[in-house]
Amino acid sequence: MAVLEVRNLHVAVDGKRILKGVSLTVKSGEIVALMGPNGSGKSTLFQTIAGNPRYQVVEGDVLLDGASLKDAAPEERFAKGLFVGFQSPVAIPEVRFAFLIQAMLNKRSGKKLGDANPKIAEAFKIAGELGLKQDVFNRGVGAGFSGGEFKRAEVLLALLAKPSIAILDEPDSGLDIDGMAAISKALLRLAEGGAGILLSTHYARILKFLEPSKVYVMYDGRLVLEGGPEIVKKVEEAGYERLFKEAGIA
C-alpha cells in the first residue's frame, strides 16, 4: 500500500511563488483528478513532486509512504516507485525512444543501462493497444512527436515502469476520442494493478471514462474545491470562471 502525501506545499520558481499551500493524498489503487484553468499551478505541483531542481520548495513537503522526498533526486524518486509524466513534449532527438524504454526498465530492475531487457517486447504490444505507431521507437524521444504521440508515449512509459504512484500531466490533451478511450483503459488497468494515479486535465471527458474517487480544483496555487465526481459535472456545466465566482473565490 503506497501513499503519496503533499503537505502544505509552497513552491517558488525563479523566485516567484507559484504554489501557496497545497495538500492532497493519493493512495494505491485510487484515481485522483486535478482540474483547474491554465496557469493555476498544476504542472508546478507535478514537477515539484518529480524533483525538478528548478522548482524550489519554500515550505511544506512531499512524502512517499511517510518518508520525505525533500532530498531525493529525480532518479531516486523514480527508483522509489514514482512516475511523473510530462505535459509538453520534451525533445531529445539524440536518445532513441526504444533506448529510453530499455534504460528505464533496466534502472527499474536494478540492472545496468545498456543491458538487454526482455520487456521491450511488451512495450511493442502495449504501444499497439495505445495506438502508438512502431516507427516511434526508432525516433529520438519526443523528436517530431505529435502532441498525441507524446501523450501516448508517456502513458506507455508509465505502464512499463509499473510505479506505485503514477502522476500524469494532462494525458488527454491533443488526443481524439479514440485516443482518450485507449489511454483511459490503460490507466484503469494501472490502477487495478495497484498503482495510485494522480492526473491533471482541462476536460471532463476523460474523467467520464476514469471515474476518479477524488477531484480537486486548483486556482492560483491553491486547491479551492475538493469533492467527488459531482465537481467534474459542475466544471463542465459552469466553467471555471463562473464556478469560482459562485464560490466567492475569484
Partner: protein, 475 residues
C-alpha cells in the same frame, strides 16, 4: 546493439581515457634514437638503418628539399609549440618484429594488453600490426589471406619486397603539397602496406595500432591500403599513448586506392593522450564505381588536424566521410573532409558530428570541389554540433568550389546542447545525471557508430562515455 554492448563490455577497456588507462610512460629500451636538426645526414642515416633501396632514399631526400622550401602553414594553431629540432625523429625500440605477443618486451606488451589488443585480434581481426614509436613491433596476418594473394606488411618490408607495387602509390595519392607532408616524406617510419588483389573480398577488418611511448618524439608512420578491381577491404587504425612528460608530435600519412568497382573502408579510432599534437595526411582515390568510406573517430590528443579526403576520379565513384570529434577541455580539434568530384555521376556524403565541452573547440573544415564535366555530381555535407557549455565552441567552415552546372551540392548544419530540460526528463525516467549525459552523447553519434564493426563500436562508445559522463554541470 545495446545488448551486445553489455556482453563484451567486460572484455574491453575497463578504465578511463587513454592516458589514465595506460598511466604514465615507462622507460623502454631503444636500439637507435636520432634526434635534433633534420639534415641530409639524418635522412641518409634512417635510410641506411632501414636498408632501403635507392629509390626510397632519393624520395626521402627530395622530400627534405621540399620541406626546406615550403612555407610554414599560417592557419595551423599550435604549430609554434613544436620545436622540431628538439624531437627524436627516429626511435627504434630494442626488439625485432614479433609474431607472437610473448616475444615482445614486457613494457611494450603491457601497453597493448591494457588496450585489449590481443583479445581484439582473437575476436575480430584477420591481421594486426602494432607500431611502437618508429617501428612495427608486432605483426600477425592470417595465412588464408596470404593464400589469396593479399599482402599486409610493415611498410619497410613492402618497400623491399614489392617495390614496383609500392612505388605506384607511395606519396602519389598524397603528394608533398604542404610543409608537413614533405616532412613526413623525408622522415617516415613504420606503417603498413596492404594490397588486396582483384575480386578478393575480405570480410573481417585488418588493423594497425600506433602507440607513442615517449615524450619529445615524432611519429610519422606511412600506411597504404589498396583495393584492386572489385576487391573489398576494411582497414582500421587505432592510436593511443600513455601520459607523457612533455609532448610528442604525430605526423602520419594514409594513402588509399580503390580501383574500379572496389570497396575500401578506412576507420580511425584516435585516442591519443592529451600530450600529443596530432597531424594527419589522409587521402584516397576512387576509380570508376569504386566506393571509399572514411570514419574518423577523433577522441584524444591535445590538438588535431585531420581531413580524410577522397578524389572521385572515375565515373560513378562514391565516398562517405564520417567524422566524430570530441573536444573536451581546452583542446582544439579539427576534423574535416575534402572531396574532389572529377568525373560524372560521382557522389559524396560527409557527416560530421562534434561534441565540445569544458572549453573545447571543435572545428569542421571542409571542401567540396566539383570539376567542370563532372556531370550530375552530388554532394551532401551534414555537420551536427553538440556544445555542452558556454565556454565551448564549434566552428564550421565549409567551402565549395563547383564548376559544373548539373552538380547538386547541399549543406545542412545543426547545433544542440544538453539542456536542463532534457536532463530532467531523463532523470525522471530513472537515469542519473551522468547516465543522462552519456546517453545523449552516445545517441548523438550512434548513427555513425552503428556502422562500425561491433567491437570497435563498443570501444568508441566506451571511450566517449568515459570522456563525457563525468562532466561538470552543464547548462
Amino acid at each position: 546493439m545495446e545488448k551486445e554492448l553489455a556482453d563484451v563490455r567486460g572484455m574491453i577497456i575497463e578504465s578511463e581515457r587513454a592516458s589514465e588507462l595506460l598511466g604514465a610512460a615507462k622507460p623502454v629500451p631503444y636500439a637507435v634514437e636520432l634526434k635534433g636538426r633534420i639534415t641530409r645526414d639524418m635522412i641518409e642515416e634512417i635510410s641506411k638503418l632501414k636498408g632501403e633501396p635507392d629509390w626510397m632514399r632519393r624520395l626521402r631526400l627530395r622530400m627534405l628539399e621540399l620541406f626546406e622550401k615550403l612555407p610554414m602553414p599560417k592557419w595551423v594553431r599550435g604549430v609554434g609549440e613544436i620545436d622540431l629540432e628538439t624531437l627524436v625523429h627516429y626511435a627504434k625500440p630494442q626488439t625485432q618484429t614479433a609474431r607472437s605477443w610473448d616475444e615482445l618486451p614486457k613494457e611494450i606488451r603491457e601497453y597493448y594488453e591494457k588496450l585489449g589488443l590481443p583479445e581484439m585480434e582473437a575476436k575480430a581481426l584477420l591481421g594486426l600490426a602494432t607500431q611502437f614509436d618508429s617501428e612495427i613491433v608486432y605483426f600477425n596476418f592470417k595465412r588464408k589471406l596470404e593464400e589469396k594473394g593479399v599482402v599486409m606488411l610493415p611498410m619497410e618490408e613492402a618497400v623491399k619486397k614489392y617495390p614496383d607495387l609500392v612505388k605506384q602509390y607511395f606519396m602519389r595519392v598524397f603528394p608533398a603539397e604542404h610543409k608537413f607532408a614533405a616532412l613526413h616524406g623525408a622522415l617516415w617510419s613504420g606503417g603498413t602496406f596492404i594490397y588486396v588483389p582483384p575480386g578478393v573480398r575480405i570480410e573481417q577488418p585488418l588493423e594497425t595500432f600506433f602507440l607513442i611511448g615517449g615524450s619529445m618524439e615524432s611519429q610519422m608512420e606511412h600506411s597504404i591500403v589498396v583495393a584492386d578491381k572489385g576487391a573489398q577491404v576494411h582497414w582500421i587504425e587505432g592510436c593511443s599513448a600513455p601520459r607523457l612528460l612533455k609532448y610528442s608530435f604525430h605526423n602520419g600519412m594514409v594513402e588509399g586506392y580503390a580501383h574500379e568497382g572496389a570497396d575500401l573502408k578506412i576507420t580511425t579510432v584516435q585516442n591519443w593522450s592529451r600530450d600529443i599534437i596530432n597531424f594527419n595526411n589522409k587521402r584516397a582515390v576512387a576509380e570508376a564505381r569504386a566506393h571509399v568510406q572514411w570514419v574518423e573517430g577523433s577522441i584524444g590528443s591535445k590538438t588535431t588536424y585531420t581531413f580524410p579526403s577522397t578524389i572521385l576520379k572515375g565515373e560513378g565513384a562514391s565516398t562517405e566521410i564520417y567524422g566524430i570529434t570530441a573536444a573536451n577541455g581546452g583542446l582544439w580539434k579539427e576534423n574535416g573532409a575534402k572531396v574532389w568530384h572529377l568525373a560524372p555521376d560521382t557522389k559524396s556524403r560527409i557527416v560530421n558530428k562534434s561534441i565540445s565541452a569544458n572549453g573545447g573547440t571543435s572545428v569542421y573544415r571542409g571542401m567540396v570541389y566539383v570539376a567542370k564535366g563532372a556531370k550530375y555530381a552530388r554532394s551532401h555535407v551534414q555537420c551536427d554540433a553538440l556544445v555542452l557549455d558556454g565556454d565551448s565552441a564549434n566552428i564550421t567552415i565549409p567551402h565549395d568550389q563547383v564548376f559544373e552546372e548539373t552538380a547538386v551540392v547541399t549543406h545542412e548544419a545543426t547545433a544542440s546542447r544538453i539542456s536542463e530540460e532534457k536532463l530532467m526528463y531523463l532523470r525522471a525516467r530513472g537515469l542519473t545525471e551522468d547516465e543522462a549525459k552519456a546517453s545523449v552523447v552516445l545517441g548523438f553519434v550512434s548513427d555513425i557508430v552503428k556502422d562500425l564493426p561491433f567491437e570497435y563500436a563498443v570501444v568508441l562508445q566506451r571511450v566517449l562515455e568515459l570522456e563525457f559522463s563525468k562532466l561538470g554541470r552543464v547548462g
